[in-house]
């Protein structure tokens, strides 16, 4: 018998270490320590009801356990075999106790559709993919026909997962109606948002699902050639994708006359050099053609005139990964998951000041609070939540008041951010929002292709304004200028990069205006991040004159006699923080 005690950070904060101890001592008192083993586990993803204790093999799931409950659990459950009802999870709807966690699937907030095979199959073995219904969707599509498949895709409500959220079925329909001697299917694997790694993980863990979906796409729009535009910085994804393509060819699942249908399709890789703007579909296509990776005005859309001037359908990796399941399980199954206008699930790369950093997949409509506090296990080191950044450099920062927003394309846009490709960066009270906005601006300034002036020059100016503010040289007029310039850049830029690049500035201005004002009027950074605005000060009362700070100061900015209070010369101080670390009397503070 095993007792699993949750050792996630949230449950540890509620004394799960002590629970392990008391369970062990209770077991020892009953002489059962050799029969029952107490184990500390990782996070159950149910932090709201923690600490959790699960008993195996009967799958009993106790919630909100305290060390004082250990005696009762051991005496009743382990010795007498009777469950402790008051600790069982109570169904909020019918108030019934649920004893067997097998019936508690609902507590699991995640549903893996796009990630269904990631971490399950060996990505370098096509047989493992076939054993999990792989390539059957192609067979089904050949039977249904192209038109019916496009109808299914439209009915499913799948929208582009690269960030734009354009309905996939509609995109396919438009491409299918344009006639040409050659058409192309392109997979956009140019994942560029800082902190995002969903597409890389899918290609590394389940490359065949993308190959299968691209073939389906080819059949539907009448394309016989597929191209994957993948960044050269993803060597493992490239290697696994190439192995998968070779194996699919070997098994006749790519190439001539696939599954006896008479349909030919093959896929080649194209490497990107890592320019962010090449994630934009027209720039991506130009890059593949050997041209400069710069966007062009739409229309014409790639569906009319794309790669080499031929009709081309571009979809993102995660969008493709959903498709084989939609075909096999049906549009109704898929459209039953998610919110009204956003169907299915979304993969997020959860990062930043959060306990369970990782790759998650949740149904659309899940709230930010559920993602951050349940699946993510809350904020690191018990700090206070400040903001969550979604949508990468094109997105915005959302705050406490947005935590109960159900995540979908439209809701995130409405609150001033966007879905983007799925990066989700959590920030705590120590993060300065002006610096965060500056960080994203640095990125866009670097990545702007320079073709249109609002993006090339405007973002540069925005960055300079932010730089001034973080140095304590900003004025209130600068804050208005930031906002005006942001709107001009949004309205007049050529492509998505420029049209969205001011979003981090606008959303932090909207949600953290006070913080901007503090930088400008008080010359202070409330989060204590902007070095130019910080001053290290020694409390003359608390300092005992031990000289530890003075000895460790790399620039000799601290003076003072032995056993007398010391003083920091702020004109020399480089604000490295070495003195604070060495002070044993908490006498040094940042002001």
């Amino acid at each position: 018998m095993h007792m699993l005690v949750c050792g996630g950070t949230g449950c540890r904060a509620s004394a799960s270490d002590a629970i392990v101890e008391t369970l062990n001592s209770e077991l020892a008192a009953k002489g059962m320590e050799n029969e029952v083993q107490v184990i500390m586990t990782g996070c159950f993803g149910f932090c709201e009801k923690g600490p959790i204790v699960k008993i195996l093999p009967d799958n009993t799931f106790y919630t909100q356990v305290t060390p004082a409950d250990s005696a009762e659990i051991v005496a009743e459950h382990i010795v007498k075999g009777r469950k402790v009802n008051r600790l069982l999870y109570t169904d909020p709807e019918n108030k019934e106790h649920i004893s067997d966690s097998k019936h508690m699937g609902f507590y699991k907030k995640q549903l893996r559709i796009a990630l269904r095979n990631c971490g399950v199959i060996n990505p370098e073995n096509v047989e493992e993919y076939i054993a999990r219904d792989g390539y059957q969707a192609i067979g089904k599509v050949f039977e249904m026909g192209a038109q019916a498949t496009i109808e299914q895709m439209k009915k499913s409500g799948l929208r582009g997962r690269g960030g734009g959220g354009f309905p996939t079925g509609l995109k396919w329909e438009i491409a299918s109606k344009n006639h040409a001697d050659q058409k192309y299917v392109v997979c956009n694997a140019d994942e560029g948002d800082p902190g995002a790694f969903m597409d890389r993980s899918i290609l590394e863990g389940d490359p065949h699902s993308v190959i299968e979906a691209m073939t389906i796409n080819g059949f539907c729009i009448g394309a016989t050639k597929g191209l994957v535009y993948i960044r050269a910085e993803y060597p493992l994804a490239i290697k696994r994708l190439q192995i998968a393509i070779d194996q699919a060819r070997e098994y006749g699942l790519l190439g001539k006359d696939i599954l006896g249908s008479g349909f030919d399709f093959d896929i080649e890789l194209r490497y990107g050099a890592g320019a962010f703007v090449c994630g934009e579909e027209t720039a991506l296509i130009h890059s593949m053609e050997g041209e400069r990776g710069e966007p062009t005005v739409k229309p014409p859309f790639p569906a009319e005139s794309g790669y080499l001037g031929k009709p081309t359908n571009v979809n993102n990796v995660e969008t493709f990964a959903n498709i084989p399941v939609i075909i096999l399980k049906g549009a109704e199954w898929f459209s039953a998951i998610g919110s009204e206008k956003s169907k299915g699930t979304k993969v997020f790369a959860l990062a930043g000041k959060i306990n369970n950093v990782g790759l998650i997949e949740v149904p659309m409509g899940t709230t930010l609070r559920e993602v951050i506090y349940e699946i993510g296990g809350g904020i690191k080191n018990g700090k206070k939540f400040k903001a969550v950044q979604t949508g990468g450099p094109s997105g915005g920062c959302l705050t406490e008041k947005h935590l109960d927003t159900p995540i979908d394309y439209d809701n995130l846009l409405a609150v001033g951010s966007m879905m983007g490709s799925g990066g989700m960066i959590v920030m705590d009270e120590d993060d300065c929002m002006v610096s965060v906005a500056k960080f994203y601006l640095e990125f866009t300034v670097e990545e702007s292709c320079g073709k249109c002036s609002p993006c090339r020059i405007g973002n540069k100016r925005l960055h300079e304004l932010l730089e001034r503010i973080t140095k304590g040289e900003g004025t209130m007029e600068d804050l208005d200028r930031l906002r005006n310039l942001s709107h001009v850049i949004k309205d007049s830029s050529l492509c998505g990069l420029g049209q969205t690049s001011p979003n981090p500035v606008l959303s932090t201005l909207d949600n953290f205006y006070d913080e901007y004002v503090a930088h400008v009027t008080e010359r202070k950074c409330p989060a204590g991040q902007c070095k130019s605005l910080m001053q290290y000060v020694i409390d003359q009362e608390a300092c005992v004159g031990c000289t530890a700070c003075a000895r460790n100061c790399p620039v000799n900015a601290i003076a003072g006699d032995r056993k007398k209070p010391h003083v920091i010369d702020t004109s020399i101080c480089i604000k490295c923080g070495a003195c604070i670390e060495k002070c044993k009397f908490n006498a040094i503070s940042i002001q």
Binding site: C6, I130, G139, K140, G205, D206, L236, L359, I375
Partner: protein, 132 residues
């Protein structure tokens, strides 16, 4: 390898592969073996999954334990890399995080040899399309 010529072919192949996997998993096969999957995406490899995988390959062989060790993609628990999944014949698979060589030794000695669970198990916290 003969090419898959039709959907019927593919389905037959799936059945065969599926039953091969089932036999292995349900342990009805007298040859049923321990299965270990090592999460080998970029995140896992960067945290040392390759060393752990090599260790299992070498040590299980040395200690004469019949096991199948394969690589797989990202399981999603990037905070706890390297992660592995261990499946003993006839039992539910168990995912374990923060596996280094020392932990791997403990897993072999305690869990694989004696069926005693070890600290650091990561409970499955998601639904799959199969149980949906």
């Amino acid at each position: 390898m003969a090419k898959v010529k039709s959907l019927a072919d593919l389905k037959k192949m799936k059945e065969q592969l599926q039953s091969k996997v089932d036999l292995r998993e349900k342990g009805e096969d007298p040859e049923s073996r321990v299965q270990i999957k090592v999460a080998m995406a970029t995140c896992g490899i960067a945290s040392g999954a390759k060393t752990v995988m090599d260790y299992f390959l070498e040590e299980l062989d040395k200690r004469s334990i019949d096991a199948v060790i394969t690589q797989t993609g990202c399981m999603g628990y990037c905070y706890a890399e390297p992660t592995i999944e261990v499946k003993l014949p006839g039992q539910e698979p168990v995912v374990i995080g923060y596996v280094d060589v020392k932990k791997a030794d403990e897993i072999i000695e305690k869990y694989i040899k004696n069926g005693e669970l070890v600290d650091g198990i990561i409970p499955m916290n998601y639904n799959t399309i199969d149980n949906q």
